[in-house]
């Protein structure tokens, strides 16, 4: 295809560097440096999308991030599909494939456009008033229809093969926006030697200089100056330039989020290169140089393809060398559109007429246009446009009524004036103030160490902006510790000056009730929708916005918010500030989820913690379970075994011979100091002072409210040294809990805490043969029952490496826990395994561990307790030091409800049918025949098949459980009710004889 609207000699691109691309399957060519939008326009394509509600044909409105209409789907491959890409931002690359959205069957014939004809039915908020009858139809009919009609592009359906990067950075001066002002500020700051970061959302720095043909700085034209300045900055070590980078969010204490796009503009990106990078920058000073955004005119049918912002048309011409039409109309309420008309005229494009709402426009631009022979209709309005898939005419009328004249055009430029981009300022929690004279919201009260410069500060004209920005850059750098700036201030020799413009609906744009004068293009919000919202009692601008959805589209109201506000204010007959301004919420422009996620995907989503013996377990066929971040061995199936068979075998083997269990994930804290025992007395319910060195005790830890917080075996290594164990999940929070009390409540105690969870690998060797297995490997410890009874701890050596050897049991059988320095964990395990093989021992996992401890009625905190259970509830009141006058939880325990009757207590449950294994979490009732809602009196906390008992066993929490021993209760299941007998919680070896067996 010919790029028939590319004007030879115009623009800054190199015509020879052509690129192929497709749009809706049709092939086109563009040139390097194009955006998708400029390339489409070069080919005369204006129709690029359909609107949200009415499916009206839409063209390209803008040249930047404020674009509401030209949203396309870009598909690199099946897995790299990106919906809702702004064609005005997407840089062209060779082979780019774009498709239009929200239309069926095609862009030029869209069945959804029937909505446009029925539009009076779809007034603002209509859906709140209907679709209520019949009631069931909302879910089954109306809502699915609405949902299918809504939405723009299509979400990707395959995992994204691209990756995303992240960086924290610090600087003294962060400049947001790389137009003339931003560059000037960066130059000033950079000269002082401080760290400067300058970002801009465009591929190239220069901002409005892209189109502002009248600018001249330091003897060069504006754009050329910008490129020279950028080259200079780029050569400085203290400066980081971030093009294609949008500052999207301004957070507390000068913390700014930036999204950098790295590969979306490349034809074949390096597979290892991140697609986007999130910058999180902490700056001492921030300079906001975000510029201003041109507003459209609000009048009937202002949305036809070919209707465009004047500055956009100018950028397409002056930068991309593209004429947006051959016979162009202009509708304006300020001067800047004249510059567009002049540039186009000079480039050989016919200007059909300028329609200026102002009665007596004047000034150099107006004069120049006149001198070029352009027809100027002042005091007049465009009251409607003609055309279907492209504008064909504009109808002009004196703004106070009168004769109507239809003028043929193939494009229409409009400008209602410029809105300063105060988004980031407002996000910084600064308060904007309304400037009555210029009808603009401008930065008012600052909340952070930042300053606005240039157009976003309401500073008019290039010279004033550069002046202001340079001074601000120098000051910010100095305030942040920089040296004095050298005097290399850019000299602005020529610039354009524009007058104000207007807000709200243009006068005389036809009768209110039929026309569609769009305020928000993407969401199809018209002036009359806003008026209707006010009419229905929406007085706050937030209500108007939510009722009409004005400003809630993907462009976040960059062109529409001020118009909407002005129309609402006008309808309410109030001043604009009284109606308020909607909040500017982050992000400034939409940010890819991937950029925010950064590296935190897949394996880096969350650490996977593995023990020192993980490799051995894996090699021996272990199945793992996730417990917090840990991978714990769940069970070790032999070939042909399912989980049930494996667990049964493991349970049987442990009690017949012995088993090896990896208990390394338990939290471990070394408590050291002369006041260690005193501290332990305060943090645990148990008494510790009299525990001899070399002995262990099971400890219970409460929160101040009296509920069980954690538990574990504690060994006293020396009078001033305890080795404390915690639950796996509790390790970090128990440490925090202990540090909290130590540092803030008991700082007088001479004791220190060190986490040693990962210093020691822990191998539990449990079962009647446990001593026989460890004995050959242990040196320096007498393992006899007399020398080392149950619940003792010794330090010595195993396999030649240091060990802290605990004699303790979580199975009820004789048992040891072998602690060895973690790097030796695997080798010691292997040695124990070899010994174990001689005795028929097995390796067992957490499931068998759970069964074995349940057989003995030992609780698991977090399973048999749930944060609402007291020691008494769990049958652990024996663990409370009766003579103690203080420990954490001592007072909470005696609150009225914690000592009241009717508390749930831990019991054993035996199904009448021993083969039935109860569901964990199943509820217990006394009367199974009662109607729903049933009175539930307890629930099953743990339930297993016990191979050693030859039946199912279960633990549960039951109201007044200990008074119900022997009662038959009921567990109603969906398909049946199971009878259970309440028993004590110990199912195996009730007398505890096997501990020394």
């Amino acid at each position: 295809m010919m790029q028939s609207f590319r004007i030879p000699g115009a623009g800054r691109l190199t015509p020879a560097k052509t690129m192929r691309f497709t749009f809706d399957g049709q092939s086109f060519t563009g040139v390097a440096g194009d955006t998708l939008a400029s390339a489409l326009l070069a080919n005369g394509v204006h129709l690029v999308g359909r609107s949200f509600k009415y499916h009206r044909p839409r063209g390209i409105l803008s040249v930047g991030a404020e674009e509401p209409n030209a949203l396309v789907d870009i598909e690199r491959d099946a897995a790299r599909k990106t919906p809702n890409v702004r064609a005005t931002v997407q840089e062209l690359y060779d082979g780019l494939a774009a498709t239009s959205q929200n239309r069926w069957p095609s862009l030029s014939f869209d069945a959804g456009a029937v909505n446009d004809l029925a539009s009076p039915l779809f007034s603002a908020g209509f859906y709140y008033k209907t679709f209520m009858w019949p009631k069931a139809a909302w879910k089954s009919f109306y809502e699915p229809k609405i949902r299918a009609a809504a939405g723009l592009g299509v979400a990707p359906d395959q995992p994204d093969p691209d990756h995303y990067s992240a960086r924290f950075a610090h600087c003294e001066v962060l400049v947001l926006g790389g137009g003339a002002a931003g560059i000037a500020a960066a130059l000033a700051a950079a000269e002082t030697g401080v760290r400067v970061i300058l970002c801009d959302e465009q591929a190239e720095f220069g901002g409005a200089l892209r189109f502002e043909a009248g600018a001249k700085i330091d003897g060069a034209d504006g754009w050329a100056w910008a490129q020279t300045a950028i080259a200079k900055l780029s050569a400085m070590d203290n400066v980081r330039l971030l093009p294609r980078t949008t500052a999207f969010g301004y957070y507390a204490q000068n913390f700014v989020g930036l999204a950098e796009r790295l590969t979306d503009h490349l034809a074949s990106p390096d597979a290892n290169a991140p697609r986007e990078r999130l910058w999180q920058i902490r700056a001492k000073r921030v300079i906001l140089a975000a510029g201003a955004i041109e507003r459209h005119m609000v009048f009937a049918d202002n949305d036809r393809p070919g209707v465009m912002l004047a500055s956009a048309a100018r950028a397409y011409l002056n930068h991309y060398g593209v004429a947006i039409g051959r016979n162009v109309g202009v509708y304006t309420a300020n001067d800047s559109a004249y510059a567009a008309a002049i540039d186009l005229k000079k480039a050989g494009v016919d200007i059909a007429a300028i329609v200026d709402l102002r009665d007596n426009p004047s000034g150099p631009l107006v004069e120049e246009a006149r001198a070029l022979g352009i027809e100027i209709n002042h005091g007049r309005a465009v009251i409607r446009t003609g055309g279907r898939l492209r504008i064909s005419s504009m109808s002009v009328q004196p703004k106070n009524g009168g004769g109507e004249r239809k003028i043929a055009v193939d494009a229409l430029l409009m400008s209602a004036g410029w809105t300063p981009s105060v988004h980031l300022f407002s996000q910084s929690r600064g308060k904007v103030a309304f400037d009555e004279e210029t009808k603009r919201f401008l930065p008012g009260i600052y909340a952070q160490d930042c300053i606005s410069v240039g157009a976003c500060n309401g500073t008019d004209g290039l010279a004033a902006s550069v002046e202001e920005a340079y001074a601000a850059g120098a000051k910010a750098a100095k305030d942040a510790g920089g040296k004095a700036a050298k005097a290399a201030k850019p000299k602005v020799e020529a610039s354009e000056n524009w007058s104000r413009g207007m807000l709200g609906a243009a006068p005389g744009a036809g009768p209110d009730k039929i026309v569609k004068a769009f305020v928000d293009f993407q969401n199809d919000v018209t002036a009359k929708d806003i008026r209707l919202a006010v009419h229905e009692g929406m007085r706050s601008i937030e209500h108007v916005k939510r009722f009409t959805t004005n400003g809630m589209a993907t462009d976040q109201g960059k062109t529409s918010n001020m118009h909407g506000l002005a129309i609402a204010a006008d309808t309410l007959d109030k001043n604009i500030p009284e109606v308020g301004l909607t909040t500017f919420r982050a992000p400034y422009t939409p940010v890819t989820f991937g950029a925010i996620v950064g590296h935190a995907r897949g394996a880096l989503f969350d650490p996977t913690r593995k023990t020192a013996m993980h490799g051995w377990a894996e090699a021996h066929g272990a199945v793992f379970e996730d417990v917090g971040q840990w991978k714990r061995t769940w069970y070790f199936p032999k070939p042909g075994e399912d989980m049930h068979a494996a667990v049964n075998r493991e349970c049987r083997t442990v009690r017949q011979s012995a088993g090896l269990f990896d208990a390394s994930t338990l939290g471990k804290i070394e408590v050291v100091g002369p006041d260690a025992a005193t501290f332990m007395e305060l943090l645990y319910t148990n008494p510790w002072q009299k525990l001899d060195a070399g002995r262990c005790r099971y400890g219970v830890m409460l929160r101040e409210d009296g509920f069980i917080y954690d538990d574990g075996v504690v060994g006293r290594l020396a009078p001033d040294r305890f080795h404390v164990t915690t639950t796996t999940g509790g390790a970090a929070r128990v440490m925090n809990h202990m540090e909290d009390y130590l540092q803030t409540e008991f700082p007088h105690l001479n004791v220190w805490l060190t986490s040693i969870s990962e210093q020691w690998a822990v191998i539990a060797v449990q079962g009647p043969k446990s001593r026989d297995i460890i004995a050959p490997l242990v040196k320096g410890i007498d393992l006899s029952d007399e020398a080392m009874p149950h619940m003792s701890v010794r330090e010595g050596r195993i396999c030649g490496v240091p060990t802290r050897l605990f004699r303790m049991s979580f199975t009820g059988d004789r048992g040891f826990e072998v602690n060895v320095p973690a790097d030796y964990g695997q080798a010691v395990w292997e040695a124990l395994w070899t010994e174990g093989q001689k005795h028929g021992a097995c390796a067992y996992g957490t499931e068998a561990m759970h069964v074995l401890r349940a057989e003995k009625g030992y609780i698991i905190v977090g399973q048999d307790t749930d944060g609402t259970v007291t020691p008494a509830d769990a049958g652990l009141d024996w663990a409370i030091g009766k003579k103690k006058t203080d420990f954490v939880g001592i007072r909470g325990l005696t609150r009225p409800d914690l000592v009241a009757a009717g508390r749930k207590q831990l019991v054993g449950l035996r199904t009448n049918d021993p083969k039935i294994v109860l569901d964990e979490g199943a509820q217990i009732v006394a009367d199974p025949k009662q109607a729903i809602p049933m009175k539930m009196i307890g629930h099953v906390t743990s339930s297993y098949w016990s191979e050693n008992c030859g039946r199912s066993i279960a633990l549960g929490l039951l109201t007044d459980g200990r008074a119900r021993m022997g009662e038959t209760l009921h567990v109603p299941m969906p398909d049946r009710t199971i009878e259970v007998e309440v028993t004590g919680p110990v199912f195996f070896d009730e007398k505890g004889e096997r501990l020394n067996g």
């Binding site: 507390a252 902490r282 101040e704 925090n736 909290d740 409540e745």
Partner: protein, 98 residues
């Protein structure tokens, strides 16, 4: 993400290194066991939750690991000052006395 001055590290550090630890200056009574139910409720549950200046505890958990106190405005989230655990509640705040 807040920037918090740690009184032990003597510099501002990013919030990611810290953990908030609730309202400050709620001392645990020395005679805990003798407290009334009402006093226990006040001690453990009732919080001032001010809209404005709050005295609160933080822990520089991924830094020096110390608990310390901070004065912050809950409307602006700006810190007025931070000080070490055990130091008395400041009577006068910097910049507050006019």
């Amino acid at each position: 993400m807040l920037l918090i001055h740690c009184p032990y590290c003597e510099e501002e550090r990013p919030e990611l290194e810290f953990r908030h630890a609730g309202e400050a200056h709620i001392a645990r009574p020395t005679d805990m066991a003798a407290m009334s139910d009402e006093d226990f409720e006040k001690f453990f549950f009732i919080r001032s939750n001010p809209k404005g200046v709050i005295y609160e505890r933080w822990r520089h958990v991924h830094g020096c690991a110390r608990f310390f106190n901070a004065v912050r405005d809950t409307v602006t989230d700006k810190f007025v000052m931070t000080y070490k655990a055990g130091e008395p509640q400041p009577k006068k705040l910097p910049g507050a006395g006019k």
